[in-house]
Amino acid sequence: MAEVHTHEADDHESAYAGLLVNDAHWAFGTDFEDPLAGVDTTVPEGIEPATLAAYCLMLGDDALVLSQRLSEWCSRAPDLEEDIALANIALDLLGQARLLLARAAKADPSIVPALPDGSPVPDEDRLAFFRDDLQFRNVRLAEVPNGDFAQTIVRVLLFSSWRLAVFERLVRSRDSVLAAVAAKGIKEMAYHRDFAARWFLTLARGTEESRRRLVAGLDQLWPLWPELFETHALEREAAEAGVAVEPFEVSAEVQVVLAQVFAASGIDRPERGALAGIQGKKGRDGRHTEAFSLLVAELQVVARAHPRGQW
């Protein structure tokens, strides 16, 4: 350790002790270790690596993009407790995204964007920061702007109810990475759903204004909801190989959960049709909403300026 000139030893030093030492106490580690270190990443038999990778991107991009949106609340929430809670949810999703993108890259290295020789950017970051917006496979529910707090609560409720049900089945995936991500994610998604359901009830029964805003937020997001239950051809293929969950399968149970929240809140299920795609293509095919390109631009701007950078 470099010599520190101080004329007296007191508790100032404790705050600085070890600043120049690379020890094990840093959050998330100090090195760039593989997030999947120690996990069996062999692609299970009976599934195309490209299909497994696409499925991981779908789940990973959902998490990454919603995390990006939720972190926009940071320093803007109605009170400190909600600021902290929304950051927690964003952090959980970001953690899931990192593992899932790393898994996608490992399953099929050909999907990883090429960077200049010698670039130290790890694969999961190449996927997050160097893919074009049309290559993202997230559902559109994850990407639309936050709206107000009520709309954000509705989105977290819809998304977490769905993802929790998917993860509860995904723990039996033949892919050990997906199974592990799901097992860890179940606790997180249950917390997200609980947080959102409690606020849903509070806003529904709080004041006239909060109820009006909640109903408006629900109405706004409802057309994006059916997309989560549409089984994409690649999802079906992956599900048939015992690796993935067909989202259609979880529809009934998720609707029951929502019906309970709506009933307790005295809120009617909106009567709105599903948001159409473009020639039938939607988020899972890389066809997004207008707001998405801007989201991706913000996400990637610093990383793209430094393709050889290390962070």
């Binding site: 705050a15 803007r76 909060s210 430094h306």
Partner: protein, 316 residues
């Protein structure tokens, strides 16, 4: 009010507690001036944590790796947590979080001026961690022994997390210094911008500091501004060397005789202009906080109404 009816024994007991370096607790008698000073200082500290979320929070969306994004988001979240502890400590002195927030928004209470400087590059996240959190720690470690119990205890927890943040910031800069030439230039540029504002964080020179003497007598403050500034400089120099950056002060030199560094003075005119409200971001920071607070009003009202209705149902 209390001082008028307080007997000399109460005051003697208070003074003795301070002299023994014991803690004053919320239910203990304390002079009005002590209470006022504490509310001002703890509130200002809480506001600094909350306003301090903005300059770094602005880069969460642009953090260039998933790992750095998580570190940054978690750090800014910690700042919200620090704000919570400190508002709670202030509440033990009889003032609510809502009142304090209103005073921040109306400009009646201040926050650390450092946050009126903008973050112009992602690198600033690292520099703020290293220099700004580092200076904050220098200021705050002695506060762990401050005379008011709830404040001192909050500070112990905060200092641990702050030193963690400082190390994360330093580690980001260190990693960037091992990267490309462009990245090294970014680190130097950012350090050039933040060095002087970091030195200003210790407040004006002792001869111009109006609050120091009484606060030291009461054990609220335990070191003078200039003492802490000197300590910060002495600690930062070897760190800068380890990083490979130059601190932008031509007068910075080791003084063998004093066993300390000699260094130049920040631009105190700029300091006072920022303190008085004319800094690059003063208006922006308050407008951001005010907007969040105003736009959240209906949510807080809904939560209050919901809780009141639930209480009614219980008693009915």
């Amino acid at each position: 009010m209390t001082s008028a009816v307080a007997g000399p024994e109460l005051e003697a007991h208070f003074t003795a507690t301070i002299e023994h370096a014991d803690r004053i607790e919320p239910r203990d008698w304390m002079p009005d001036g002590y209470r006022r000073t504490l509310v001002r200082q703890v509130a200002q500290h809480a506001h600094s944590e909350i306003i301090g979320m903005q300059p770094e929070g602005a880069w969460i969306g642009r953090a260039p790796s998933l790992r750095r994004k998580a570190i940054l988001l978690a750090k800014v979240q910690d700042e919200a947590g620090h704000g919570l502890y400190l508002y709670s400590a202030a509440e033990t002195l009889g003032v609510s979080r809502n009142e304090l927030t209103e005073m921040l928004i109306s400009g009646k209470q201040k926050y650390s001026s450092i946050f009126n400087y903008p973050t112009l590059s992602y690198t600033d996240v690292g520099t703020i961690g290293w220099l700004v959190d580092g200076a904050a720690i220098c200021n705050q470690v002695p506060l762990c022994r401050t005379s008011f119990g709830p404040y001192g205890r909050a500070m112990i927890r905060i200092c641990k997390e702050e030193s963690f943040h400082q190390r994360q910031g330093f580690e980001l800069l260190m990693t960037m210094m091992r990267g490309t030439d462009e990245q090294r230039a970014m680190v130097q540029e950012s350090v050039d911008r933040f060095w002087w504002p970091a030195l200003m964080m210790f407040g004006p020179p002792d001869e111009d500091s109006t609050n120091t003497e009484q606060s030291m007598e009461w054990g609220i403050k335990t070191h003078t501004n200039d003492e802490l500034r000197q300590r910060f400089v002495d600690m930062s120099v070897p760190q800068a060397k380890a990083l490979g950056v130059t601190l932008p002060d031509p007068d910075l030199v080791w003084n063998e005789e004093r066993g300390q560094h000699d260094f130049g003075q920040p631009d105190w005119d700029e300091f006072w202009s920022v303190v008085k409200g004319d800094g690059p971001c003063n208006a922006q920071r308050i407008a951001h906080r005010k907007q969040a607070w105003d736009e959240g009003a209906w949510v807080r009202e809904a939560a209050t109404a919901f809780a009141a209705a639930a209480d009614e149902e219980k008693t009915a």
